[in-house]
């Protein structure tokens, strides 16, 4: 069935439905926690463990099937298309938060700070509620929500992080070249460096957040600047963590001798994801930190 003339059809598997149950339990637990219910955290933890265990079992099955040579060229194309469009959906998710930042900076905050005939429809909000408010960026709004804060500068940790992520993109590509040239050593070293740089990035971001909260008065609650800053960089940081975990799995599989120059979908998917995370960071560095 894994010839190129006949179609390939995978075995049935129990993991997808169990992983779904785990995810549902996690979210129901989180919702209960947010509602202040005491069963929330336990439910959430249980669901999450189930979810991760089932995903792990599912991926292990896929990896062993792949190594057994059960996937033909056509299956590889389907997987690649799947990954490609999954990344596109992630791009759209980040686009919402970038869009919110753009709208706030260019439309709603200027409207809140303007009065007069030519200003936008936010004028009456300005005139009636906050006539003294001047539109500036960064802002925590006319009501000074969250109190005084200092905005995060671009140079310092964020710039260092830019360098870290860009270098990790290079090491990732270097590892790919090693894989294609059958240099197992180069593949392993490149992946190890990529994962290390990724976690270093996350560590730097943790220090940055710590400084923001303890020294700069900048929190998630610091008006719309704090909201956009932490949600954009926070979701990005989460994606860096996920990408680094995926790359760690790929590293482990490389160590176990998986992948050939012809058959290494998991590596490619992880590398694509990593470059996507990289590009998002460049957007963040420009639009959140620099401008």
């Amino acid at each position: 069935m894994s010839t190129n003339t006949a179609y390939y059809i995978p075995h049935k598997a129990v993991w997808p439905v169990l992983a779904t149950a785990g995810l549902m339990l996690t979210l129901a637990g989180f919702a209960n926690y947010l509602n202040g219910s005491s069963i929330g955290p336990g439910m959430m933890a249980t669901g999450f463990v189930v979810f991760i265990a089932m995903l792990g079992a599912w991926f292990a099955l896929q990896a062993s099937e792949s190594e057994a040579g059960m996937y033909n060229h056509s299956v590889g194309i389907s997987y690649r298309m799947g990954m490609m469009w999954f990344i596109f959906s992630e791009v759209m998710f980040f686009a919402v938060f970038f869009g919110a930042l753009w709208y706030t900076r260019n439309i709603s905050v200027p409207w809140l700070g303007e009065s007069g005939f030519l200003s936008g429809p936010g004028r009456s909000t300005h005139d009636v509620l906050w006539p003294a408010y001047q539109a500036v960026w960064p802002t925590n709004g006319p009501a000074n929500v969250g109190g005084h804060f200092e905005p995060m500068g671009a140079f310092g940790l964020p710039f260092l992080n830019t360098l870290l992520l860009l270098s990790s993109g290079v090491t990732c590509t270097w590892a790919h070249h090693g894989l294609l040239a059958k240099k197992r050593d180069q593949l392993m070293k490149g992946l190890l460096a990529t994962v290390a740089l990724g976690f270093l990035f996350v560590a730097c971001q943790a220090i940055e957040y710590h400084e923001a909260y303890t020294e700069m008065g900048l929190t998630l609650g610091s008006g719309v600047y704090g909201s956009t800053f932490f949600m954009l960089t926070g979701f990005h940081g989460l994606h860096v963590c996920i990408g680094a975990i995926i790359l760690s799995v790929v590293l482990f599989r490389s160590w176990r001798g998986h992948f050939t120059p012809e058959n290494h979908f998991a590596f490619e998917a992880a590398a694509w994801y990593w470059h996507f995370v990289d590009v998002v960071w460049l957007g963040l560095f420009i639009f959140v930190y620099l401008l």
Binding site: A31, W58, G82, Y103, G221, S227
Partner: protein, 540 residues
């Protein structure tokens, strides 16, 4: 067509893994496109009645002025939940079910490209719907701010709030996975010779719909995530005091919401374009223009969102831009209506139940389209906004359009799926009851809206009493008529008229699509080797 093979010729030990499991487990862990399609369709049918029951609660309350049966908060929960259940639980899953059943058969594939993910996306849908349904029993009741979840109103939701948001996340993940699967299937699994411009229109419309879904579901997820953090984590996205703007939510929501309504209508167009040529006994008129029109509608759907927000206080330049951009949609839509009509022109038509529903769709959808055109005019929309006129408009584009076409699809393909013929007399009865009652139900709502009756209101001024009563009578007629469809589905599965249907089912249907060359019912795995001959009917 003789190249199409039915028997399984597996030449290895995997054979026994590929038949269906025994018992309930078959349905839980299945990766088979037909099983999953059946699950989606049956789930959608159940949800159609759940959502329909909610609609009947609404219409019962509105039968007469005054508060009769339910308290206003519960009434608002019903309008909200009716919409969520119908959109995310009935119409979208029903079309995904049709996609699962039909796309592999139409393009000559054995199954969907990513079968395990296919299983997961169905169960994610169930998980999401369970989560949203559980809110009906929570302190503070189910969400009652409308399916649009506008802040600040939605912030008043009780315990249901985070559950509703996570349900949206699950439904979004489900739709994205389903869409990715459809794209991978269509791009990667077509039989040799099945070029893109030879694909049946149903496949084309689903391909385009899948792109819409991947682009918009993350947007909705982002919007509700901001609601969640605004409520629980002190962010200020939609709070003017902190520099945010509640109107931002509306922009994001409708950037999702407008393409979302086309997610429900584009596959409808695809099914109509499949059924009408079969019963007109002519090839579809203007095949390539249908493809381009679908793509044009999909593109336009991304640049017209603020026509849902004319009365929110947009700058005049914004009102004008969104007004003209919206009017443009009438052009590709008009191309489609013209092509369906031209397909029937001088055809040797017969009027079996699927064709009756399809013709009613062409007529009634056009009416829904025209009221949409009326509301695209920004200054006029100031009068129509948030009245029963908009309720009439979008129900015309959803009930006698999407739902009618789903019914048509059921009658059209059930004989192929089951190998049995449905009862044509009861089918026709179902059609006539539906088409008459749906107009009694929704047509008077135009009058109510133009006279100024607001939507999402449990009570109303006495001058609206007559038409509300008429509308409610139509609603109960329509709702109970749909039980006939349930009867027919069960009856057909159990043997129907007893008449053994041919592979073609409908006269000369095999000229119109690859699925009619397969046995009825088709084998568990559709094509085990790529079929070599493909229809050329659409070319020209």
């Amino acid at each position: 067509m003789s190249a199409v093979v039915a028997e399984h010729d597996h030449h290895d030990h995997e054979h026994e893994h590929h038949g269906p499991e025994k018992g309930i487990l078959r349905w839980i862990i299945t990766t088979n496109h037909k099983d999953i399609g059946t699950l989606y369709l049956l789930f959608a049918l159940v949800m159609f009645f759940v959502g329909g029951t909610m609609a009947l609660v609404i219409r019962a309350e509105l039968f007469e002025p005054g508060l009769q049966f339910v308290d206003p908060n519960f009434f608002n929960s019903m309008t909200t939940m009716h919409a969520l259940v119908m959109v995310f639980g009935a119409v979208m899953p029903a079309f995904v079910g049709l996609a699962n059943w039909q796309i592999p058969m139409m393009i000559g594939a054995p199954d969907m490209a990513l079968p395990r993910m296919n299983n997961m996306s169905f169960w994610m849908l169930v998980a999401g719907v369970l989560l949203i349904a559980s809110t009906l029993f929570m302190e503070g009741g189910a969400p009652a701010a409308g399916w649009t979840f506008y802040p600040p109103l939605v912030m008043q939701t009780g315990k249901a709030f985070p559950f509703a948001i996570f349900a949206v996340h699950l439904l979004g993940v489900s739709s994205i996975m389903g869409a990715i699967n459809i794209i991978a299937t269509i791009f990667n699994m077509r039989a040799p010779g099945m070029t893109l411009m030879k694909m049946p229109l149903f496949v084309w419309t689903w391909l385009i719909t899948a792109f819409l879904l991947i682009a918009i579901m993350p947007v909705f997820a982002g919007a509700v995530t901001m609601l969640l953090t605004d409520r629980f984590f002190n962010t200020s996205f939609f709070n003017a005091a902190g520099g945010g703007d509640p109107v931002l939510y509306q922009h994001i929501f409708w950037f999702f919401g407008h393409p979302e309504v086309y997610v429900m209508i584009l596959p409808t167009f695809g099914v109509a374009s499949t059924i009408i040529p079969v019963f007109a006994r002519k090839p579809l008129f203007g095949y390539s223009s249908m493809v381009y029109a679908t793509a044009a509608i999909a593109f336009l759907s991304f640049i017209v969102w603020a026509h849902h927000m004319y009365s929110v206080g947009l700058p005049i330049a914004g009102e004008l831009y969104f007004m003209y951009a919206t009017m443009l949609i009438a052009i590709p839509t008009g191309v489609k209506v013209f092509n369906w009509t031209a397909t029937m022109w001088k055809g040797s038509m017969t009027f079996e139940t699927p064709m009756l529903f399809s013709i009613a769709f062409v007529v009634l959808f056009t009416m829904g389209g025209f009221t949409g055109l009326m509301m695209s005019v920004a200054p006029v929309d100031f009068q129509y906004h948030d009245t029963y006129f908009i309720v009439a408009h979008f129900h015309y584009t959803l009930v006698p359009a999407s739902i009618f076409i789903l019914m048509a699809a059921g009658y059209f393909w059930l004989p192929k799926w089951t190998g049995h013929m449905y009862n044509e007399r009861i089918g026709k009865l179902h059609f006539w009851l539906s088409v008459v009652s749906v107009n009694i139900l929704f047509f008077p709502q135009h009058f109510l809206g133009l006279a100024g009756m607001p939507r999402r209101i449990p009570d109303y001024a006495v001058q609206f009493a007559d038409w509300n009563m008429v509308s409610s009578i139509g609603a109960f007629m329509y709702g109970f008529s749909q039980l006939l469809f349930v009867y027919i589905v069960i009856d057909t599965i159990k043997g129907g008229t007893g008449e053994k249907v041919t592979d073609e089912v409908w006269e000369d249907a095999s000229k119109h699509g690859l699925e009619w060359t397969l046995p009825s019912p088709p084998p568990y795995h559709t094509f085990t080797t790529p079929p070599e001959i493909i229809p050329t009917e659409h070319v020209g």
